[in-house]
Each structure stands twice: as structure tokens, then as C-alpha cells.
């Protein structure tokens, strides 16, 4: 390998200071490696957006014990709701736990505000010795004899060299594509999330959502809320604000000619949601792409001199019951850092050595989880499970509870009639029941 000036030669270059990148930089820097963490925003987190519930508390706790005491977290999630909606009705499944890990340390999940949280996490990597450089847009990878030996930053003399490049540059990873590891995505593999942060008094939030102190709730909505666009909606409580948004599959947004913010407005006006956001003041508006197809859009994860982690690798589990991304991002970032440390010990950065990444991902349960739920996304994100059935449940409940002088029907004939009235064929229904079982039960 050619040698370069010492100040331009690093052991590890991490591109993107999100949960994956900062975790990778933190671990690699702690191992004594010379680490460069590049971020295109003015500060880490400036360009990052998500729901954002962080379910990786236990993972981060291993790196930074009792991290929540110093990090800018909002509320810990000990209540979760899944609601099925028709345009005027909502039926919800309410989960609440004061059990170990939910209401006690290390907690199950926290709502966070990404600009603050990501900034804090990158600062931890910096404190561990990583060199954090912001306002640095990476345009390309540098190659020598087929090996990736660094990246080119969009600035004068922007070439910078590293033995391993870890691409954590998010969904639609530019680097993974430049390295030839990832293909272009299809619109049906991506969802567009639009989100608002609505400011509300903490006392009102506690009253309105039946929360005490720093407890928080995560609502997820399925059904007619996105009309005929495949998708769902969410509402999370922060300390003095709510994060709420609508997620819609890109291809169906295009087909149905729906604008995401129209769906968001409709969601906010739904009778089950409007009272929750009443009186709030809009603080932020953001939108982001979500890689929702999991296993199917996983790129080749390593090549000579480079590893891919986080959303860039499609590690976002959007499978109905689970909507998790930041924890897998962090896990994959850590697995990539472990691989880079291993490669530095061996002083060999070829794909053959970096293949250890796969083993590390398995150990951190990333690839195993995604493999286990590989059948879920294509089906769960389909129209029937995300829109049709939830709406039928909501309408069915409406009919069961309605007292209007007509004879009461039992549930089975009611279901039968609803299926007959809908476009679903009985055979399809049975197949879907099998699919749900295959996705979640075994």
C-alpha cells in the first residue's frame, strides 16, 4: 500500500455520523485505532431524521454504562399501542409494563430527538479519540489496484486515506453504490416518512397519555389512515413534544398520486388522533426515506477495504410489530468496528479478512434477526395487512358495538359478511393467515 502524509492517513474512516457511524467510530477509537468520522451536516445529527424511538438502550449500556443519565433522552417507552383504524374508528391494543427493563434500567427504549442525540453520540466518539470532521460531503471512494483505500471529500485536496472505510451514509448509500456493493432500489422497497414534532406542555402530555414522570408511549397506527397508500403512522411522546408522522411506500404514493403531507394532515385530523395533538405548536418538520425491505435489499456487505453498516446496509426492521432501525444500525456499526479492529491486527484489509463481518453480525443478532423476518416485510408492507385488515377490524368492532334496533349478529357471520363485501377472496384470506403465521410464529 502506498504511504500518504501522516495527517491524511487513518486506520478507519467512518462515513456518516449517525448511530451506526458514531458507534463504529467509538469502538474503533477505544481500541486505539486512528479513526476519522466524516459527517456532511454542519454538526452530527443535522441531517438525520427518524421516528425516533431508540430501542438499543441495552446495547449502548455496554459501551457507556448508564448512558441515559448523560445523554439527551426524552422519555423511556413503557407503553405501546397498536391501533387499527377506519376513517372514523380506531381499535387499539394497549401494552403497558412496569416490569424489569421497561420502567427500570437499562430500559427498553427511549424517545430521542435525533439532532440532539446523534450530536451527543458523536461527541462520545470524539471523546474516545476519533477525529470528527463536519461539513464534509464524501463524493467517491479512492481505489488502488481494486482495493478501496480511502474517500474523496468535496473540498480542495479532498483525498483522504484509510485502511478500512466503513460506509454508514444512510439509506440510498452513495458509497455502497460507488463501491459496486449495492444496486439502485425499487420504489416498492422504500418508504417515505414525513414527521412533525409538535410542542406540548409536559404536564399536558402526562395527563393526556396517562404517564407519570418520564414514562413514554409509542403509538403505531395501521389501517385506513394512509387511505390506499401502503403504510402506517406513528405517534411518540417526547419530554415536551410529540413526534408524529406517516409512512408511505414510495411506489404506492406515486401510483395513487398522494402527497405525504396530505396524509399527515388527514392523520392529525382523525378523531382518535386529533384530541392527542390538540393545542400543540408545530416545531419541526422532516422527511426521510426508510429502507423497508430488509433482507431483500441487503447489499454485499464488504469488499476489499470497505464495510457497509446501518441503513446503508438496509438494517432497518420494518415488519409490522417491529419498527426498529437505530438499534440495528448501532449493532451493525459495532460489528463493522470489530471487523476493522480484527483486520488491523492482521494488517490485512482484503475482502477475505473482512468477511469476518458476517460472523460478527451474526454474533450481534443482526443478520439472524433479519433472516428470521425475511418473509415479513414484503407481506406486512403489502396492502392487505397494512390497510385492509386493520380497517376491517375497526369497522367490525363498530358493528359489534352499535345498538340500533337491528338484530345482533354473531362475530362469525359478521366476519363472513364483511369478507364477502370486500374484495378479498376466502382463499386469499387463508393464505394471508398462513403468511402471518410464517412471518411471526415460527
Amino acid at each position: 500500500m502506498t504511504t500518504h502524509p501522516a495527517n491524511q492517513q487513518f486506520d478507519v474512516i467512518v462515513v456518516g455520523a449517525g448511530p451506526a457511524g458514531s458507534a463504529a467510530a467509538l469502538l474503533a477509537a477505544r481500541a486505539g485505532l486512528k479513526v476519522l468520522l466524516l459527517e456532511r451536516g454542519e454538526y452530527p445529527g443535522a441531517k438525520n431524521a427518524s421516528g425516533a424511538v431508540f430501542y438499543g438502550s441495552a446495547i449502548l449500556n455496554e459501551l457507556i454504562p448508564n448512558w441515559w443519565e448523560q445523554a439527551p433522552v426524552e422519555r423511556h417507552i413503557c407503553r405501546r399501542d397498536i391501533a387499527f383504524m377506519s376513517p372514523t374508528t380506531a381499535v387499539a391494543l394497549d401494552f403497558r409494563s412496569a416490569g424489569v427493563g421497561f420502567a427500570t434500567a437499562p430500559y427498553n427504549g427511549f424517545t430521542v430527538l435525533r439532532p440532539k442525540f446523534d450530536r451527543w453520540l458523536a461527541a462520545q466518539a470524539e471523546a474516545a479519540g476519533a477525529f470528527v470532521l463536519t461539513s464534509a460531503v464524501v463524493d467517491d471512494v479512492l481505489r488502488e489496484k481494486g482495493h478501496i483505500v480511502g474517500v474523496r471529500v468535496r473540498r480542495e485536496q479532498g483525498e483522504i486515506y484509510g485502511k478500512v472505510v466503513i460506509a454508514c451514509d444512510g439509506v440510498n448509500s452513495f458509497l455502497a453504490k460507488k463501491a459496486g456493493l449495492q444496486r439502485e432500489f425499487h420504489p416498492h422497497e422504500l418508504s417515505l416518512g414525513v414527521k412533525e414534532v409538535i410542542g406540548l406542555d409536559p404536564a399536558i402530555i402526562q395527563d393526556r397519555f396517562h404517564l407519570t414522570d418520564n414514562d413514554g408511549i409509542a403509538f403505531e397506527y395501521l389501517g385506513a389512515i394512509t387511505e390506499d397508500v401502503h403504510g402506517g403512522a406513528f405517534l411518540y411522546t417526547n419530554r415536551d413534544s410529540l413526534s408524529l408522522g406517516v409512512i408511505g411506500q414510495v411506489s404506492s404514493l406515486v401510483e395513487r398520486r398522494k402527497r405525504p403531507y396530505e396524509l399527515l394532515e388527514r392523520f392529525k385530523a382523525h378523531p382518535a388522533v386529533a384530541p392527542l395533538v390538540r393545542g400543540g405548536k408545530l416545531r419541526e418538520y422532516s422527511a426521510h426515506l426508510i429502507p423497508e425491505s430488509g433482507w431483500a435489499m441487503k447489499p454485499k456487505l464488504y469488499t476489499d477495504g470497505m464495510l457497509v453498516a446501518g441503513d446503508a446496509a438496509g438494517f432497518c426492521l420494518a415488519a409490522g410489530l417491529y419498527l426498529e432501525g437505530m438499534n440495528y444500525a448501532m449493532q451493525s456499526g459495532l460489528a463493522a468496528a470489530e471487523t476493522a479492529i480484527f483486520a488491523c491486527q492482521k494488517n490485512n484489509f482484503s475482502a477475505r479478512v473482512l468477511a469476518a463481518y458476517q460472523k460478527n453480525l451474526k454474533q450481534r443478532h443482526v443478520s439472524t434477526d433479519f433472516r428470521a423476518y425475511r418473509h415479513a416485510p414484503s407481506f406486512v408492507n403489502g396492502p392487505r395487512l397494512q390497510n385492509l385488515y386493520p380497517e376491517m377490524v375497526a369497522r367490525g368492532m363498530e358493528q359489534i358495538f352499535r345498538v340500533d334496533g337491528t338484530p345482533k349478529r354473531k362475530i362469525l357471520p359478521l366476519t363472513y359478511r364483511m369478507v364477502r363485501q370486500s374484495t378479498i377472496k376466502p382463499g386469499q384470506l387463508l393464505r394471508d393467515v398462513y403468511q402471518v403465521a410464517r412471518a411471526y410464529l415460527w
Binding site: 495527517n7 477525529f131 473540498r155 485536496q157 483525498e159
Partner: protein
């Protein structure tokens, strides 16, 4: 030629959120940046700098302001100096300029000082003039263009209503520049990385030979913060004594009457003053007596 540029560390207006109830800024969400007018002054200084010249950047501000001085170094400034003392709080322009003047004297005085004319936070626009007072130098404010001609600075100044004035100042001088004249160049990657951990020399009051008494000016105290309220205005009603035509004409003009002046020729000065006050009250510029 030695050029000094004064940089101010200001809140980024796009990150400012005002609590609608108290009218106070939510400090936790604010990000800071280099004042845009100062940024443009820095770029002009770098362009003006001859091969044997230097550009030194100065800032009065807390430790966070180091980042902005480092950015200036990355863009090509030769040296940087920060002035701060923990006893300093929110500064008035008069105090800021005393500190800046003292800092400029630390090393050999420069030949030219460039300042952004107005900051985006306070925007009093007084710093160039006050600094000139402390140094006893000539100053040109609202400068949109300047050119060095045989040791004299030829400047174009912006006047009201689009007018421009050309004047000449002798060096050493201070120029207060308009914002948005040029964009600051983008630093190269090696420069950006080099300055990341460059320590910025810090000068406190002692190093500048000042004592807290020197900086003591009758303090401005904040008594109360209220949300802005529109000024009360007298609603237009047509004069009922007029004829129908006059009233219709008044209504059609929606109360916009041509400005009519009245010259008070008779009466004692006291009577004339009373007439002026009554006029201002009638027009809603003064409150009605309670």
C-alpha cells in the same frame, strides 16, 4: 500590509425558536455561527491581502467562539486571537469595542480593520464607529466596495434610497462592510483538519491591561419581557358634521388623507407646544391623557 478582521459569534437565526408565551428565545435549541457580514469581510480581507501581508482575526466571545476562529484559519487567515473573561456577560458595543481596541494593540497595530457593519443578533451597527473612536482612526461605514489606491482607500458607501457615495480614507482606517458582498471561500480538507485542534490564544482583561472598572458603564437591566403588541391606533370614522358628499369622499378614501401640514404662527410657545401635542394625540401617536 496587516489586515485585522473582527468576527462575531452569533446565533443562527434559522435555529431560533421564540416561546410564544414569554417571548424569550429557547436557548437549548440555538446553534451559533459566524456573523454573515463578518464572513464577507473576512473573504474580502483574504482577497485584498498582498503576498507579504497578513490577515489576523479577532473575536470577543466565550470558548465556543474558538470554532469560528478556527474556521477563519482554515479559510486562510494567518493568526487568530480571542478575547474573553469569565466576568463578562452580555456585552454592550462600547465594551466590546474597548476590548477589541485593546486586543488590536497587543501586537503591532494593523493598517486596516474590516468589520461587518451589522450583526444579525443585535445589529446596532455601532462597532466600526466606536472602534474608530477608541483608536482615533478614520472610519467608513455601510461600505459596499473598496479599492486600495496608492496608500489610500477609495470606498463606495451605501446611502438611503439606493444612492451611493464615493469617498477616500487614509490608512490606517476602519471599514464597516455591508453583508452579503461575497461568500467566504471553502476551506481545503487538509486545512480544515489542521485547524480542528489548533489552540486559539486567549486574552483576558489582565493580559489586555484593562480592569473591570474600565469596562464599567451604567448597566442596562432587563425589567420585563412581553410579547410584542401592535401599537394602538385611532380607527377612522367619517366626520358626521360634514355634508353627505364629504362623508362619502372620506369613506371612499378609507381614511387615507393626503398629508396636510399646518403652520402654527400665532400664540405663545407654550400654546404652540400644546397644539402640537393635541395634534399628535388626535393622530394616535401619543396616548390620551388618563
Amino acid at each position: 500590509m496587516r489586515i485585522a478582521v473582527c468576527l462575531k459569534y452569533v446565533p443562527d437565526p434559522s435555529t431560533i425558536e421564540v416561546d410564544p408565551l414569554t417571548g424569550l428565545i429557547d436557548a437549548g435549541r440555538v446553534l451559533y455561527m459566524m456573523n454573515p457580514a463578518d464572513e464577507s469581510a473576512l473573504e474580502l480581507a483574504l482577497r485584498l491581502r498582498p503576498s507579504n501581508g497578513t490577515v489576523t482575526v479577532f473575536s470577543v466571545g466565550p470558548v465556543e467562539a474558538d470554532r469560528l476562529l478556527q474556521d477563519a484559519l482554515a479559510a486562510g487567515a494567518d493568526a487568530a486571537l480571542r478575547v474573553w473573561d469569565d466576568s463578562l456577560g452580555s456585552l454592550k458595543p462600547i465594551v466590546t469595542t474597548m476590548l477589541l481596541a485593546a486586543a488590536l494593540r497587543v501586537k503591532e497595530l494593523p493598517d486596516l480593520v474590516l468589520c461587518g457593519g451589522h450583526s444579525v443578533d443585535r445589529g446596532s451597527g455601532t462597532v466600526p464607529a466606536l472602534l474608530a473612536e477608541h483608536l482615533d482612526w478614520p472610519v467608513a461605514t455601510d461600505v459596499t466596495q473598496f479599492e486600495l489606491r496608492s496608500g489610500r482607500m477609495r470606498v463606495q458607501r451605501r446611502l438611503a434610497r439606493g444612492a451611493r457615495a464615493e469617498s477616500e480614507v487614509t490608512l490606517p482606517a476602519i471599514l464597516g462592510l455591508e453583508s452579503g458582498l461575497v461568500h467566504l471561500r471553502q476551506a481545503s480538507l487538509p486545512n480544515l483538519m489542521r485547524v480542528k485542534h489548533t489552540p486559539i490564544p486567549l486574552y483576558g482583561l489582565e493580559e489586555l491591561g484593562l480592569s473591570p472598572q474600565d469596562l464599567h458603564f451604567p448597566a442596562m437591566t432587563l425589567h420585563e419581557v412581553m410579547p410584542p403588541r401592535p401599537r394602538t391606533r385611532v380607527m377612522f370614522t367619517p366626520d358626521i358634521h360634514g355634508s353627505v358628499q364629504e362623508r362619502v369622499a372620506q369613506i371612499m378614501s378609507a381614511g387615507v388623507a393626503g398629508k396636510t401640514g399646518k403652520i402654527l404662527e400665532s400664540g405663545t410657545p407654550e400654546q404652540q407646544a400644546d397644539a402640537i401635542i393635541a395634534f399628535l394625540r388626535q393622530r394616535g401617536f401619543l396616548e390620551q391623557p388618563t
